[in-house]
Symmetry: C2
Subunit: 456 residues, 2 copies
């Protein structure tokens, strides 16, 4: 009975694998991501090695570590050999011991060396996402020789659209040559005759992947060579690695701005403990910071008791400060990321934020005053005999708090950057918390000025 079931299951897997074998690897990945891990693993075993390696080559494949672990050791080693080095290193980076060590021992020498070299670079650097499967030729070759060589090695290289011409003795990078200029060139000409006149663009392995993305986008490149200090090409970062990296960075930026530590897996797959871990840290830190509002309120307790009417506007006024701060922060975080402003420009930004801050505060202040006057005169609510003074207090506090919010929000990314943190850690909740405490002090100070002798 069980045998029949197993057989039926095996037939299903076989049919599924046969059907998928003709699909684009990215589509196979999409299908496998939706299947339970056992089915996905069985399908991968049933696929021809080349196809399975192509599937593992897709960074979109979820649970890649578990899936490779489920393959027999020998096949796992063959898969690692067949997939690109940067992807193999990426999977190893996320494998846990002792599986990691066991699988590493199974690798052939060449793959082992390549993976070990890539693993030595910290995550999110050019070194960690580069591939070592690029085309390089000595500068003594002709266009024709280079093309012949490219044809021969095409199948084993991640990209052949950029070819790196090296000094034949020192192996130092002389120039990159694009395949399009190469096929347009005369076969008997030296390969350097089709190279651009400009000095080659290259990055060190320690370069941040965001900076590599900026270079690729600025110069419209298909790949950037990663070179050591002497100018030897260690590998290349290709445009599709960079696109994947950019999507990840955008997700991280939005999550960080929301006050969450960046998730390391899709939202629907994060387990409960990990979700708490990623959110509780910031939430508690902000809560502790926000406790200062309770202290500030305690400080003004006697004023509060005398003028309960003031408490009615506390949430309204505080949130406006937080909102204007959040606006300013989001603008500056992106301006810093796009290198439109630099650290030394902080005072220019502060000067730029001042006029909008005051203007926006004045707009809200006028609306606030009108609201109080309207409610009072329509008889909706009675703010007491000194309602005009209360309205003035609210209006003036809004100007002060919105201006402070804009300034604090725009300066926070600079301050974080200056003291060595990621400016993108300046989240909306962070700014709001910062502005809340000061906002209360501003509000009560203005109230003391306007209302001393009447309400206070």
């Amino acid at each position: 009975m069980n045998d029949t079931l197993d057989e039926a299951a095996a037939l299903d897997i076989g049919a599924l694998a046969a059907g998928l074998a003709q699909e684009h690897p990215a589509d196979i990945v999409e299908r496998l991501n939706a299947e339970p891990i056992d089915t996905a693993s069985a399908v991968l075993s049933a696929l021809p090695l080349e196809r399975a390696a192509e599937v593992f080559d897709e960074p979109g494949l979820e649970r890649a570590e578990e899936l490779i672990e489920a393959q027999p050791a020998e096949r796992a080693a063959a898969l690692f050999r067949a997939m690109s080095d940067d992807r193999a290193a990426d999977i190893f980076r996320h494998l846990d011991e002792p599986v990691r060590e066991r699988l590493f021992a199974e690798l052939d020498l060449e793959t082992k060396a390549a993976v070990a070299r890539l693993l030595a670079y910290p995550e999110n650097t050019a070194g960690s996402i580069m591939t070592t499967e690029f085309v390089s030729v000595p500068s003594t070759w002709t266009v024709g020789e280079t093309l012949d060589y490219v044809r021969k090695v095409e199948k084993t290289r991640e990209t052949i659209y950029a070819i790196y011409v090296l000094d034949p003795k020192t192996e130092i990078l002389v120039k990159p040559v694009s395949l399009r200029r190469l096929i347009a060139g005369a076969p008997q000409d030296p390969v350097l005759s089709v190279a651009p006149h400009r000095r080659p663009i290259a990055v060190p392995p320690s370069a941040d992947r965001e900076d590599v993305a900026t270079l690729i986008s600025k110069y419209d490149l298909l790949a950037v060579p990663v070179v050591d200090k002497r100018g030897h090409v260690l590998g290349i970062v290709t445009v599709d690695d960079i696109i994947d990296a950019m999507i990840e960075e955008t997700t991280e930026d939005v999550q960080k701005f929301g006050g969450v530590e960046a998730l390391d897996a899709p939202y629907m797959e994060i387990g409960f403990p990990r979700m708490i871990y990623k959110r509780a840290g910031w939430l508690c830190a902000l809560f502790l910071g926000e406790m200062l509002t309770a202290s500030a309120m305690q400080h003004f307790e006697s004023e509060l008791e005398k003028a309960v009417v003031l408490t009615l506007f506390i949430p309204l006024i505080m949130s406006s400060g937080g909102n204007s701060g959040s606006q300013a922060t989001s603008l500056i975080i992106r301006a810093v990321a796009l290198q439109e402003v630099r650290l030394r420009d902080w005072w220019r930004v502060a000067l730029r934020e001042l006029p909008p801050g005051v203007t926006l505060g004045a707009i809200l202040g006028v609306i606030g005053i009108m609201r109080i006057a309207l409610w009072q005169n329509l008889g909706i609510f009675d703010y007491g005999e000194h309602w005009v003074l209360v309205a003035m207090t609210v209006g003036a506090a809004l100007v002060g708090i919105v201006t402070f919010g804009s300034l604090a929000g725009s300066m926070l990314p600079f301050i974080l950057k200056r003291i060595g943190f990621d400016p993108a850690s300046a989240s909306a909740p962070f700014v709001a918390t910062l502005v809340d405490v000061t906002g209360l002090v501003i509000y009560f100070s203005i109230a003391l000025i306007f209302l001393r002798g009447t309400l206070l």
Copy 2:
């Protein structure tokens, strides 16, 4: 005297232009962006036409519209002819009348037709960012014939790395062929012999550029063909157009999440009125929404007067709801953008958010209770004889409000999407405002339960 000055200036411009002529266009752009508009314009006039067109081809060039306007009409027309069609259309899109009409009249017929065709598509669609300068060949050709043709047209095409094979009669797209497979093929074989077996990937001109980016990233493409309903290739979207689009989208996403309308120029260049316009709308809308907090507080005025101690924790409790909401929103906005969750998954997300919401609320609740107990027992502040009940109220309110914040924050993007808005409009300030009003009601309702008969 003035003549000598002018001559000196002319010499300077000449020297600057000569120096820049050897640089990469992207570097020339960087330099020109930093110069006053007159200098930049003079340098562009002094550069050879081909170089100047390359500079205009860079999407990073700021003030491109003013710069082209400053060129003599004939040179402007020549520049438009020399630059890529999609970039020319992009500049036209941002030109104001009557300059737009005047320059358009100067264009040669071919450029005119291409630009008019591209301008017909709405901004941010595949049609509006595609280029019409691609390589296509009939399916009757051999690999060798195709390569010869590619060599001949190389200089006039934006990319030659993807070649589109068309039906010789209907001109409908049959297959794309990559240059790398083409140069590896045998010259006498038919061109279709090196085509992939899979059906071609293509998009309609109305496709959103974000969806095109997803396709390019998913299938690691260098270009995607844009086809009409019958399958004719109208143009192609290349990977570098998509990278530029992705950087723009990230900026928009972060700015929107901060509660600002997306800026259409770099932060440091936005004028004062435009800056107010981009920020005041949301700020006022949020302020009006937040006014409901004043109404809610007015409703509980008698409770406030009896128990001023309750007001001390209002900012603390409300901000915690806003923070947890902002966290949940940022997670869901990205999950929706990456298509990890779809509209119909809303209830699965709600179920997923419930346990972390309650847990995070409980964590903050315990910290809050400890804070009150500590301050009371250390004698830092006296919360009155019923301080235990006050602490319980604060703790319970935190559980309720943080849970509500997580749920509201995670559902807001779905609700916006459902009623036809961009889910990314669910900004952190928007969520905070939404949670603030409900948060107050939750807090006072819990207070009524815990404190009725004692304080209230």
